[in-house]
Symmetry: C2
């Protein structure tokens, strides 16, 4: 069987199972999630053995240490995966919830209810925990799933997947609802991106390269996730202590994640006083600063920021800094360079806070808080499948709700039009 | 300036205007819609003259009568367009509505509010009224719009658009919010489908060919609309009089539209009694019937239905008919061949009605009513931009709500993570 046929077969099996999945009760889904969590812990040695083989190969290929760290599993990380599944079981089931209901003048009763999307394709990179997270979230929301993980984690993913699928089917989940692509052939992804007949959506999880590739080539609808060029704007009236605390947190608490700050904008009226303090605080945290010309007049030891810096997600201890004339210039800069993720203003001015929130185009717009809060748990949704940076369907942290769609149910007594 | 540059420029101008559009008040938007409606009626001679030129060219090209009918405008149709804009003005403004609000344990206040999508691209075919409908709906929902109509209606569309844009800007709508592609070069569409930097969504409105082309090539997110292979399942316990009334209505009241029935499924227990009556009723309405082998045993004068028939949207007075063993076979057939639009069961059996509604995968699933009701006005949403047959973002008739997205507004007092 060639790859095209193989992928078609998996996707078609998922589609068939999806019709049954839509009818599975919450009780059965939760029992399955509990069994899936248990089996990961009980059979952890199997996963660790597969993971050791993946790690050996990755080391031989000379992968970076940060990469190896993402790939590596231990008992603790496996327990976290299991805990994640248990948390998903504890979340309310979104399926069946109604959000519109009316009786029309002709007597037709119309209800709109939440239903699963159908089959969700997940394309992801090195972290093997995504296998469990994604399978759990898709299952709880009544969807079938087709998983395609990174080739470097293939053995780990395969081991996790096999345990999960067996436990799920044993608990009454329809056979075929969980599908995993075992091949490491990159062409599998290209094929997946065009399985419109079977897949209802594809969600890429990984680096900017992967996401761009999926968005650009997929004819299946995509939910774009991940990349974050997040800004902090320190307004004229900002409380300096608060601004410094927020800026340091947004930049340094976890620089590699998408809700970390990449650029700080500061009002020109306070820049001469604020920037030297910021520089001191950031240098203490080993952050490299790159400033615009005006910033460098104030702090000459900063490197020079180029046009490219404004459009770069460093994911590292680097911060670009720009002095702006006013709120409007800050908003314009953000709307030009941001990726629609998270933005914050530090201000004591009510009108400016309000205007910033209305005019800045991003999933999450903060006043006087760190951008680092953009996260499913922090927002109160529980586990998330990613952070959407597009506007269609889902925006910001995507919990179970984002994995559902709608359906209209209409009751009549013979009405015709 | 080449076409690529021209399209970029238009889309960039729309994007710039979109930031301002998001802040325009409902009052200003409604005044603009009223002014747009008025100008269409007051300057109708200008539109009719442009339309006459389009019609002359279309006739010279030998276009079909049904095509010319869709292209043709008269005073009455122009008044309908104006009336449509006035109805949009009367609809509630969806922007700013909140649908989630919480205070987190750390004191962060999180609200989720409805916001415009940004810039909406509309690619459409012959009907010039789409120019006014789409411009009106996008404007009311706070979006900028880039319109690309069919080349055969270029003069009509251009005339309508110019009047609308002038009236809108005069009423305080930000300049640039309304963009129209004047060129008839087909390449303009291909360019549009990749303007990811500027366009937030593309909605195609037209025939299956156009929609397929957009879905397959666009890297901008697409909302798929339109095609409808709708079924009526006449269950064992159906009231025959009701079933006949619904079937005749669903097939013949307007056979060219997407919510018309294409295939009738009938339970084998009642087929021998029901099908002859159906045949008589349909033949009275000049409907050509194509039956499966079992149906033709009962009504030998029916043509034979092939595999292709089950997958065809006739859009015409043709009906395919299949006898099924039971509810499950009906559901399986529908889930295999439908396009996710509208399906109905005629039954007196509660359990079957319930199961049909849960198991059939479509935007609208009816019990004892004609599929012809799937429509924005009939559902109580007012004017619609199309009927979504995909599951992501919007499903079924898309009113103003479907042209909005979400944004999280977060207030803090210096919280860090």
């Amino acid at each position: 069987m060639d790859l095209e046929e193989l992928m078609q077969q998996k996707a078609a099996a998922a589609k068939q199972a999806a019709y049954k999945m839509a009818l599975v009760s919450t009780v059965v889904k939760n029992q399955a999630l509990a069994a899936m969590a248990d089996v990961l812990e009980k059979r952890s040695s199997l996963i660790l053995q597969a993971n050791a083989e993946d790690l050996t190969e990755a080391r031989e290929k000379g992968m970076k240490r940060s990469y190896l760290d993402r790939l590596m599993l231990d008992e603790n990380r496996i327990s976290q995966m299991a805990e994640g599944l248990r948390q998903i079981a504890a979340l309310p089931d979104p399926i069946g919830e109604g959000n519109y209901s009316t009786i029309r003048p002709n007597g037709l009763e119309i209800r709109r209810v939440q239903v699963p999307l159908g089959v969700i394709g997940i394309v992801y990179e090195a972290r093997p925990n995504v296998t469990a997270d994604a399978a759990g979230l898709c299952l709880k929301s009544g969807n079938a799933v087709l998983l395609r993980g990174g080739s470097e984690a293939i053995r780990s993913n395969q081991a996790i997947f096999s345990l999960l699928a067996e436990a799920a089917y044993h608990s009454g989940i329809p056979e075929g609802s969980l599908q995993f692509v075992e091949t490491t052939d990159r062409k599998a992804v290209d094929i997946m991106l065009h399985l419109n007949r079977y897949l209802d959506v594809i969600i890429p999880r990984g680096g900017a390269g992967l996401i761009r590739r999926v968005v650009e080539s997929s004819s299946v609808p995509v939910i774009e996730t991940g990349s974050g060029i997040c800004h902090t704007f320190v307004d004229e009236t900002a409380d300096f202590a608060m601004a410094l605390k927020i800026a340091v947190n947004a930049k340094t608490s976890r620089p590699s994640v998408c809700n970390a700050m990449e650029t700080l904008l500061v009002h020109e009226a306070i820049a001469p006083e604020f920037l030297p303090r910021l520089q001191a605080a950031m240098e203490e945290k080993k952050v490299e600063l790159r400033g615009c010309a005006q910033a460098r007049q104030i702090c000459p030891s900063m490197k020079e920021a180029t046009e490219e810096d404004w459009a770069t997600e460093y994911g590292d201890l680097i911060l670009s800094i720009k002095v702006v004339r006013d709120l409007e210039e800050a908003i314009d800069h953000i709307n030009r360079y941001n990726t629609g993720h998270s933005e914050t203003i530090v201000t004591e001015n009510l009108a400016n806070a309000h205007k910033f929130q209305r005019a800045v185009d991003a999933a999450a717009v903060y006043v006087n808080a760190s951008t680092r809060f953009t996260d499913g748990f922090e927002f109160g949704f529980g586990a998330e499948i990613g952070i959407s940076t597009q506007k269609l369907h889902a925006r910001g942290p995507m919990g179970l709700q984002a994995l559902t769609g709608m359906k209209y149910l209409i009751y009549g007594e013979g009405q015709i039009r």
